[in-house]
Every structure is written in structure tokens, then in C-alpha cells.
């Protein structure tokens, strides 16, 4: 064996180890840097208290709640639409119309996030403010609508892929027995593809949770526990973006590492669940 053949595997493996090491390093860093606050037994307090630096309270509960509200609402908005669009492409309009829609959705993945935020600020925020006359128009709803648009291509393309994986012999079999498209969907496609749908849903939730800009620009960033979708809220990501400017030694600043660790762990959990449901598919 030549030297090249011997070195190559080491190089390839080295690259993988590097990637893995840095990935784990990120978590390590988040945890390590939040240790100073955690050691003083404040973890529980930080996770459950309200945020009011003027009064010495540095809880991120409102941000955790805000993250969940916004991500969940954006799923509630975009899940049915994504499902409908993937039905459109895979079941009801497989022809030219479906292919055009697919191209369009692929194109959507190329639209930068900041565009959604920018247009949201100048188009959607005034609209929401005037329509509901409640608050500044920067609200959970506003952010969730734009976020819904942002994550729908992820979901649609994932759903389509899992619909496509349903073996053709099954769909042909039910077709030949006289199933309508609705019956085909209900009895064969969805039962076969649901782990894929679930995986797509989880991944989209992670994407919605991890997005910074849309929430930062559209949700108003207030620090109360939201009670209605028209309230302003702050996500963990936006919290990090805002507090990064604070004094490095302050407790305030250190809570952003707790926020980072929480975000990391939540998306990590999502990925873990997605992989499990994905494995069930095979």
C-alpha cells in the first residue's frame, strides 16, 4: 500500500473527529461558561424567575415560554399549509402544476431570513397593529406568521420525500382496487409515511426555535410571560442577541450561556426524537 492510501483514511477520520469535537465543544463551552451562575445554586431560579435586572432578577422563564409559543404557533400555521402543499405535489396534482409548485418551494429555501424580517417590520407589523388594536403590532402572531413561511419549505420538501418513499407497489395496489385519492392518502400514504411526517415536523420545530432574526425583529422582545398571541414576547435567541452587549461580568451576561445551553439541549432532544422516528421508518 502506498503512503497515500495509508494517510487518506487518517485524514478523512481526522476531519470527522474535528467536526464532532467542535460540536461537543460548543455544548461544553455553554455549560462551562454558565457554571459560575449555576454553582451558586441559581439554576432553578434562573430557569423559573422573571427578568428584571433593575430588581436583581435574572430569570429566563419568559424567554423559554416565548420561544415555545412562537415556535409552536408557527408550526400550527405552517403545518397544515405544508401538508396541503405536499398533497398538492404528490397526490392531487402530480403533473405540471405540482412540479411548478415544487420548483417554487425549492426557490423559497433560497430566500434569506432577514428578508422575512424586513418585510415583516414594514408590512405585517402595521397590519397586525391596525387589525387587532392590541399592542404595538410586534407580537407572537406577527413573528409566527413570518416564521411559518420561513420553515414551510423545510417541511414541504421533507413531507414530499417521505411520501415518495411509499413503495409504488402499494399505491398501485390500492389504485387498482378502486381507491379514490382521499382513500389512498388515508389508508396507505399517511400510515406509511407518518414517521417521516413526524421527523419533518420535529426538524421544522427545531428550525423555528433556532431562528434569531425573525423573532428579534418582529416579536417586540418584551420580557413578560405572554398570555395572548397578540402579546409581545422574547425568544431565547433574541435574548442572546440583545444581552450580548451587556457587561461581561454581570449575571445578566452569564445568563445568555444558560440560554444557549438550554437551546442546544432542546434542539438536541428534537434531533434525537427525529432520528428515532426516522429509524422507525426504515
Amino acid at each position: 500500500m502506498s503512503l497515500k492510501d495509508k494517510c487518506a483514511p487518517a485524514v478523512f477520520a481526522g476531519a470527522s473527529f474535528l467536526c464532532a469535537a467542535v460540536t461537543l465543544c460548543v455544548l461544553g463551552f455553554m455549560v462551562m461558561l454558565s457554571l459560575p451562575v449555576l454553582e451558586s445554586g441559581m439554576l432553578w431560579k434562573i430557569l423559573t424567575d422573571s427578568w428584571s435586572p433593575d430588581h436583581g432578577r435574572f430569570g429566563i422563564l419568559a424567554m423559554i415560554a416565548g420561544t415555545f409559543y412562537i415556535a409552536s404557533l408557527s408550526l400550527v400555521i405552517s403545518f397544515p399549509i405544508s401538508l396541503g402543499c405536499s398533497f398538492f405535489m404528490q397526490i392531487t396534482h402530480k403533473g405540471i402544476a405540482g412540479r411548478l409548485l415544487k420548483k417554487f418551494v425549492q426557490f423559497m429555501t433560497a430566500i434569506p431570513t432577514v428578508i422575512y424580517g424586513f418585510v415583516g417590520v414594514f408590512l405585517l407589523v402595521p397590519l397586525v397593529r391596525d387589525l387587532f388594536s392590541h399592542g404595538s403590532g410586534m407580537s407572537i402572531l406577527t413573528a409566527a406568521i413570518m416564521l411559518g413561511l420561513l420553515i414551510s419549505p423545510t417541511m414541504i420538501l421533507f413531507f414530499c420525500a417521505s411520501f415518495e418513499r411509499v413503495p409504488k407497489i402499494y399505491t398501485d395496489a390500492v389504485d387498482s382496487l378502486g381507491a379514490t385519492s382521499f382513500q389512498k392518502l388515508l389508508y396507505v400514504v399517511l400510515p406509511q409515511a407518518w414517521p417521516g411526517v413526524l421527523t419533518g415536523l420535529i426538524l421544522a420545530f427545531g428550525r423555528a426555535m433556532g431562528d434569531t432574526l425573525v423573532a428579534l425583529m418582529l416579536s417586540g422582545n418584551s420580557v413578560m410571560l405572554p398570555t395572548s398571541v397578540l402579546d409581545s414576547a422574547r425568544t431565547l435567541t433574541a435574548h442572546i442577541a440583545m444581552i450580548i452587549a451587556a457587561d461581561f461580568d454581570s449575571i445578566e451576561f452569564k445568563t445568555i450561556f444558560v440560554s444557549g445551553a438550554v437551546l442546544y439541549l432542546m434542539t438536541g432532544l428534537g434531533i434525537f426524537l427525529a432520528r428515532i422516528s426516522g429509524r422507525r421508518m426504515e
Partner: protein
Amino acid sequence: MQNPIKIKIRHLYFYYKTRTILENINIDIHANTITSITGPSGQGKSSFLTILNRLCHNMDGARVDGQVTIDFGNGFEDIFQKNYALPELRKRVGMVFQAPNPLPVSIYKNVTFPLKLAGKKNKDSIREKVKNALEHAFLWDEVKDRLSDDARLLSGGQQQRLCLARSLVLDPQVLLLDEPTSSLDETSVQVIEELLARLKNRCTIIMVSHYMDQVKRVADQQFILRDRQLKPG
């Protein structure tokens, strides 16, 4: 051949993308007869069958031209019409595929599946129908104790008979069979052939087969598919 005509095929062309598979087919098929189609591999026999229940439209790049009309009792209907109700058509024109295609559910559910699609709900009559269909396909004795097993655990030959039973349960007027005995042993072949002879009274059968002696035994009318043409054999 004194029976009335059931299926009229006129100027039928079939293409995959730019490739012509069938060219100007013109034949009649009479009610309550068995028509056999033989021919070399890859000539388009299976494709021909899928035209008759319009399943060919599920294939990428497939295109038909011409006219196929079938008399389901109310005069000849053009099955290529736009908006023709495909589910209805496929309930009346049953099909058994070349490769057995049980659904990934239990044996029982496989057989009742068409009934579910048709919206039949009466439990007792359903059980009756399942038993009948499985008996017809000579599968009842082998599976009656394991109806809740996954159908994919059956052997190839059993699967083939299961699919036959499944398409019998709706009492189709036309039955399309693609090499229905290819993975069966000799005794099973014999019973299936007897079944076909009896089924003739209830429906019109079109069957693809590779075995010339089988064809001679059961078919009323023979075609050979070669060079994009169906020639009487």
C-alpha cells in the same frame, strides 16, 4: 364467440416517453370469455393490461392514444374520457399484478380492503365474503387459522393467490391477470385454472401467460404481442 362484445379497442397506441410500445391495436373482447396474451419479455404485455384499468397513468412518461370502450351494462363507455371516474372503473375492472403486491397489513385486512374502500360496513356479510373469496382462490385452508398475520409473511405463491382473492371480493366484471400462476407449483396451477374456467360465467378475463400449454387449456381467444402488435395466435 356468440357472446356479446364487452371491450372494444380501436386505434390504440401506447408510448413510454418517445418510445412506442403498442401501435394501432384493434381488437374486440367478448363477454364471459378468457383471452390470453403471450409474447417475449419486455414487449408490453403488462403495459397493455394496465391500459384497460387506466393504471398506466400512474407511470411516469406513459401516454395512450386511441379508444377503449367497455360495456358495463349501460352501453359502451369511453374509458379515456376526461373526468371518467377511475375508482368506479377499477372496482369493475379487477387486476392481479405480475409481482404479488399485498399491502403491509394482515391477511384479513388485505381481503377486506376493497370493501372498506367501497364503504361496506356490515361485519357478518364481510366475513362471509372474505371466506368466499379465499376459498375461490384455494387459499382458505392454508390461512384460515392465521388471518391476522402480516400478509407479507406468506410465500410468493400464497401471496399471488391472496391478491387474486382480493380482486375477486368486489365481483369485478372484467378481470386482468398478469402471469397469475408464475410462482405456483403444479397442483396449485391446476386448481387456479379450474377456478378461471368457473369464473368465466361471472366475468370477462384477460390473462398474460408464458406457458403455452396453459394457454391452450384455458383460453378462448389467443393473442401474441410482438413488434408492437397484437396478432391472433
